[in-house]
Amino acid sequence: MKTLSTAELPLFIPRSNTSTAVNKTGSWRFFRPKYDEKTAPCSAACPVGQDIPRIEMLASWGLLKSAWHKIVLENPFPSVCGRVCFHPCERKCNRANLDEPIAIHNLERFLGDTAISKRRKPDLSLKPTNGKKIAIAGSGPAGLAAAYFLRRLGYSCDVYESRSEPGGLLRWGIPIYRLPRQVLKNEIKRIEDLGVTIQCKTPVTKDVLEKIYSQYDALFIGCGYGRPISMQIDGGNLAHDGLKFLRNVQQDNTSTLTGTAAIVGGGNTAIDVARSLARLGATPLVVYRRRIQDMPAFTPEIEMAIKEGVTIKELVSPIRIQKNRTDDSDAPRYILTLQKMKVSKKEISGRARVIPDGEKTEVIHVRRIFSAIGAEAQAIWQMSTTKQRRSVVLSHCQIIDHKIPLLFGGDLTAPVKSVTDAIASGKQAAIALDTYFESSLDAVEERIAACQVGSGPALSMQTYLDNGHQIKNARVVTYDEINIDYFQTEPRVIPTLLDAKKRIRSFAEIETTLANNAAKQEARRCFNCGSCNACDYCRLYCPEMAVIVEKAERRINMDYCKGCGVCATECPRNAMAMEEEIK
């Protein structure tokens, strides 16, 4: 054995200065990754198909204007919908499986209100005017949405409104403690700023209709259900119309009422009437023929009403209203006889059927009675739908070949009678009409299907403007597909609410808009299901450094991607996919 020299022993280890670039590991690949943005369940559930994951992503980055702009591409009413939409999006939010759904409606309201306070104008790049004129009957959410989308598609639009101010149900039906008037005005103003004219105090009479037929290229009918259905019972004419009451309160909410006020019905109007009455000092009592859980009114509204002192009497149906003959001016004015009801074993389309419970009746004495059992379209609109003409019935609207194309939208045709479904019907009608003019009535259904968000029925105006090019896979991301290791539980933001005792003293808005930081924090909770938010985990984990980022765009260098799938597996939000390599 040789003895060691005092000099350092040379290290004998493998080392190479040759680049490994020569080893094109891409040749090993059997599967290839791709960026594959998918539809988020919230977007698929949103009647107007807003790209919610992208909106929350932009909001989380503090790009509030871009986030807002993303909304107004699909919905002209963020501040309104952030307040009054019943947010079906949140019920589908994947985050609910981890902790609580994202407060999507609060964020929408925040973005809408921020845009209003900063007087933001959307950059909508209207299509050049095409010379066609569209008449729109009714300035409710359906009519205004139709005008908004048609205007963007190059049509000139005139809206006819019978009342003194535009907004329809938004202006005259929804109480201001839910939707302050200034918010509505601001959002309508933006639609007018696009060049849409709104002629108030101009009901569409037969004469006006004839004029429209001769001067316009199409008519959109979003007149809503303006005619109350009266109660067909003995003394039914003694009940006040609930919608009319709400309209009156919109004009003047300063009167003071006392005594019990009965409200007949179980829809949102009944609840709005009851809550308005509570604010005026009356003791509201909702009488409903089915059970509370069967009420068509949105559950949060019912819950708020109960907190505000509204009593709901279920399983009773009015059969008689009589005047109370008394000289005492403070005594109840009416005697309301109620038939007690019971649940039948038979169900009608999933809803419990109720039948009279024998001869059992109940008599109550009330100071006022309101009817809120529904409404229907004005008589003038009832003809066109019934006549046999060439027509296409879509999920939210109907297009009929008449003297000029007629489009029925809003409550007349929407499957759910909600503000957002009304807006959806306006959008659908705009796309349908544009397709009608560009090709034919027969092309409408296919074109509509091409613009669906997820599996529909919500439509994307952006997709329509991109000639049906879908930027996202229609597949809806499920919770199982979220890589939950990347998310920690965090509580949902809670907006400040006016205390129930305080809120029945005035018509002040109940809920506050989120503060900037709270909104950004809430937006950060969003999984951004199916949408790349540049988290970069695909690049960080790629063992071959094959994920290339150039100008904020990611692509995969297929020379070196060996198809291991680490990127797609790590992707926290399922914005990637693996597909078999066809060689």
């Binding site: 060691l4 350092e8 022993l9 004998f12 280890i13 493998p14 080392r15 190479s16 200065n17």
Partner: protein, 392 residues
């Protein structure tokens, strides 16, 4: 300056004085106090190092391998299952010739779940290419850790500083903590021979064909042999600076002894007393403490034990199906030396069972009474009530 220090903190102090730059570790009893103190030093600024939290010992070793490949002084600590979990990467650290230093606190492996002293964990890593140094007391721990960095960086091999669970890791003793200035003189900043550099990119430790692999391994063996020489050289330098010297082995009254006990770790201190007592009774007994297990100081051991009649090896470890591990190594070291003493192997104190002066005296008495060892290893202190029922 003398301080009363816990054994674990003697390691931490030494790592701080060595100005380690990267620490990556995962907690495990009885090692945790070592890295706990280091994480405090990092957070209070008394040590300018990056402390990397990891999810496992495998990752801890991977992280220090990465750091060391980047040319910085890296340290970790582990024990028992944690060390076992590092096994694959222990080979990597030595094969890649990285001067990593690790404190390893000897603890039994489960099952049965046991957190107490047992050397089988570190001895099971015998063939991973790590230098292994076994410590006797707190001062030994501090000094050996400092020396470990010097040695590792000189021969480009990783060093394991081994200390007994609880008997040493959790015992407070007066320890002379040297000045930073002195340590800086003894242990200059690392000038790495391996340093990955993005300005000069290269690949290291890739595929090696049969035509070169054996030479790579032989290179490590030569470095191990060099380590033995360098150890003595650095100990001399250490002594010149700090006035202390521990030696790769320490022979106590071996020159004229007929029977020599061989110990490692803290048992040595107990045995020092027993030897003194036996000597006072006229017994010709000696003690050889082995500190350096890898590289194994064969020649030194032969020199100290060769002339005696009998050698009794105290093993706090066991290789199933064979015997006490130190006994095997000593037997192998002496077998070609003629004549050589008889080797008596004793297995004691597994899983934290105490080794008392009486245990050691029993070992001495058995060794003295038997003319030849009657079995591969003799287990001392087994509870007869338990084991007698096994045999008819």
């Amino acid at each position: 300056m003398k301080k009363v220090l816990e054994g674990s903190h003697a390691v931490s102090e030494a790592a701080r004085l060595a100005r380690v730059q990267v620490i990556a570790a995962y907690p495990i009893t009885p090692q945790t106090h070592i890295v706990e103190a280091l994480s405090e030093y990092c957070s209070n600024g008394s040590l300018n190092a990056r402390f990397i939290n990891v999810e496992s010992e495998h990752s801890a070793m991977a992280a220090v391998i990465g750091a060391s490949s980047g040319g910085v002084r890296a340290f970790t600590a582990s024990s028992s299952h944690g060390l076992a979990y590092m096994h694959e990467l222990l080979h990597w650290a030595s094969g890649a010739r990285l001067p990593v230093v690790m404190a390893e606190v000897n603890r039994a492996l489960g099952p049965g779940w046991n957190i107490w002293m047992d050397q089988t964990d570190s001895l099971a890593q015998r063939d991973t290419g790590w230098i292994q140094l076994y410590c006797e007391d707190g001062q030994d721990v501090l000094d050996t850790t400092l020396l470990a960095f010097r040695l590792a960086e000189a021969v480009n091999l990783p060093v394991m500083v081994v200390l007994d669970a609880f008997y040493l890791s959790h015992t407070f003793e007066p320890v002379d903590v040297p000045d930073q200035e002195q340590v800086d003189r003894f242990l200059p900043p690392l000038s790495p021979r391996i340093r990955l550099n993005t300005d000069d990119p290269c690949a290291i430790n890739q595929l090696v064909a049969p035509s070169a692999y054996m030479e790579m391994r032989f290179n490590i063996q030569v470095a191990m042999e060099e380590a033995l020489q360098r150890f003595s050289q650095f100990e001399s330098e250490f002594e010149a600076t700090f006035g202390r010297n521990h030696g790769p082995v320490e022979a106590i009254q071996c020159e004229d002894a007929d029977i020599i006990l061989v110990t490692t770790g803290t048992v040595t201190s107990t045995c020092r007393q027993v030897i003194a007592e036996l000597r006072s009774r006229g017994e010709k007994v000696g003690l050889l403490k082995i500190k350096m297990f890898r590289p194994f100081p064969t020649a030194l051991i032969g020199r100290h034990l060769g002339h005696s009649q009998k050698v009794a090896v105290v093993d706090r470890n066991f290789s199933f199906g064979a015997g006490g591990i130190f006994a095997q190594e000593i037997r192998a070291a002496l077998c070609n030396q003629m004549p050589h003493p008889l080797i008596y192997s004793y297995v004691v104190g597994l899983g934290g069972r105490d080794i008392t002066p009486d245990t050691l005296k029993e070992i001495y008495d058995v060794t003295k009474s038997k003319t030849t060892p009657d079995q591969e290893s003799t287990w001392i202190g087994l509870n007869p009530e338990i084991i007698e029922t096994w045999f008819n």
